[in-house]
Amino acid sequence: MPAATENLIEQCRAIVEDLHLGEVRRWKEQNPGAAAIGYFPVYTPVELIHASGLLPVGLNGAGDRLDLQYADARFGSFICSIVKTTLEMGLTGYLDPLDGMLFSGICDSARNLAFVFERNFPQKYIDFLHLPQNPSSGASASFLKAEYLRLAAQLEKLGGRKLDDDALRASIAVYNENRALLRDLYALRAANPHQVHTSDLYLLQRAGNFLPVETHNTWLSRALADIADRQAKPRDSVRIVIEGSFCEQPPLDLIRLVEEAGCYVLDDDFILGRRWFTEDVPIDGDPLGALAESYLDRSVYSSVRHDFRHRRHKLLVEKVRRLGADAVLFLIAKFCEPAYFDYVLFKRELEAASIPHLLLEFEEKAFTFDRLRTEVETFVESLLFD
């Protein structure tokens, strides 16, 4: 990889690991008076925030960079780490650059977290979006449009521009570009996994959570060009799909470990909200309607989005087949209920299709992985020398 791309990735790592949200602070200095809106994973309509002239900031927890002093007492046992580290970031001032926080109903813990935020941060705008879970209903699109309009009105109160169709179209276009670049990078990796490290792709992608999307687009285009040119030799590896990390993110070292242990990652669901739509959101016609309809009909499957027309366990098997993967690696955050529930039907379907899988549980704050390393290595060996 050319040095330029290496530097870029290094820059991304620094951004991702900066708990102080330095990039967000910088943006606010350059845009005095403009608000920054954090969103708890997985998905939020960033286009609306962008079109209002505000900065959407994707939050993915604090990893192992923050000790819990207060949040444990608020959320107690059996609750995943990201809920606690996000609250801890708030209670200790790290989220101060954010003027608002958006949540949605991804799980019961996240939903309650939204309202705990509301109590503890009365100076911030805290909102909860209900993203429809019944796309089969003819009523869901108009409901979602109304929900987006409600959000837009709140953003206006925060000093955002009044929602206007042309601005929204422009925002959709720049996010379409962002998603297309990511799709290209993902396709490149799936076709030539030896050419791009998953850990690099991960950092490139996640840095976008904190950057203006236009900047991120420039960075992604540069990386894409460099990586496409890269010459590297394939090695014996197991080709896997990673599933289950759509919300709390595995530590970077764990992602590296999986690769080092001999896995080529053909697809993953890290920071899934950045690649939420399977194709461009249409920009002709009513842009708000297009955004809502895309959510209902052109979204990736996810354990936190329910669409009874298309069952997730079938879609996982289809994906494995389409990519020609050898196996599935479930990387599931401790106490992540949606991922663990889905695992049961995923497992059943994979077994019926004779696709091997391995389940690993992680915590974002973990920093030693000896046991996990052994498990991945054993798994890889069993597949390579089968």
Partner: protein, 449 residues
Amino acid sequence: MSEAPRSEYRGQIHQQQKDLMLHWYERLDESARTGNPPAVSLMISGNCIELLEGFGAVPLYPEVNALQLAIRHQSLDPILAAEELGYAADNCAYVKADIGAMIKGITPAGTPLPTPALVLCNFVGCNTYVKWFEHAAEFQGAPLAMLDVPFLRTAEPRAEDIDYVVRQLHEIVRQLEQITGRRFDMDRFREAVRCSARVEEAWSRIKNLARRTPSPFDAYFDAITLMGPLYVYRGSPEGVAFFELALKEMEEKVARGEGIYDQEKFRVVIEGPPPYPFFRSFRDMFATWKATAVASTYSTVGGLWEFGFRHDPDHPFESLALHMLAHNVTNRNYLQRYEQIRRYVEEWDADGIVIHFVKSCRLFSAGQGDMRDYFTRQLGVPTLYIESDLEDPRYFSEAQIKNRMDAFFEALEHSRSIGTLRRGAAALRHPAAGAGNAPVAGERLKILP
């Protein structure tokens, strides 16, 4: 304090409750054998039983099945069977018990349960429900439909929320017509809504009787006994007769000045579901101290009526939507639950709060530490926090819970003896704080390191 005093009222309703539930299982059995009446799976939270009455369908409530297994100490086997299928130790044990029992062919009454004509996922608050019903439909090979109820994220439901739910209700009606081959009977539906309104009126009055000192019944443990008929029979004349009788019996108790114990010593509000596998021992821990639950959030899972909401036969679909959107504890947001508990303390004259953290249920439990912080630090109400599970017997440590409970009530007793125990409005240091949707903020803890 070794002997727990008698803590149960046994009137006519006790037997009638049993008969009604038995009759329900008979109908389910009939449905299993003949397909008639058709069965429809529903979740308890904000259930729309009235809609089923419009089809003469019988509800199948997996939660009731799960809790029956736990009360009868039969939940562990199915939970283990489910874990073998891949369910995690930390998944809601209600789901595991239900799915495990399904796989092993265990049923609460011993008679087979029907395959539902439709697994109707009334998604009212709990995300786990959605997973549960997806899995149940998969393992039963039954059709699955979603009824997506927007979470209450504003003070009142919005017009768009109501419209979305009403339109989905109509879609479900059409779908059920197709599946069952029966026509939806609008008159019968309206009649069911009328019955519900009467049941709700009686139930709400019963709950309001617990404002009296002594309270004639326990609004946690006794309320749970009444919950079966409330969810299965709310939309039927049997339900009306039952709840009007229950009201009469309770009013008679009040007239006689009769509480649960010879003398009611403490009045508490309980938050969270009960530990069903240890229901009896748990109740005894309160009885030992002659403590009555005067209100509980758990008894409002299926519907919250004591603050005035009733179904409306003149607007049947809209009132179903409103009930699901805003008038049950599970679809109301967390701060609205704080406010519900605060009102209970104030208006039902309580001495303190018992928060029962349930491992299985993040809907109830996630954030209960913050809730405790609000009540103890901000409002100054004595609050006990204990942990176990509602279904999985492996997470109940009897000695530990009993110690904590005893210490809590000893402290209340001590405060009373020195004259500092305050009750009701007086127990709230800032009775006005926290009114409305946004309680006063917690203090800021620390600035950036």
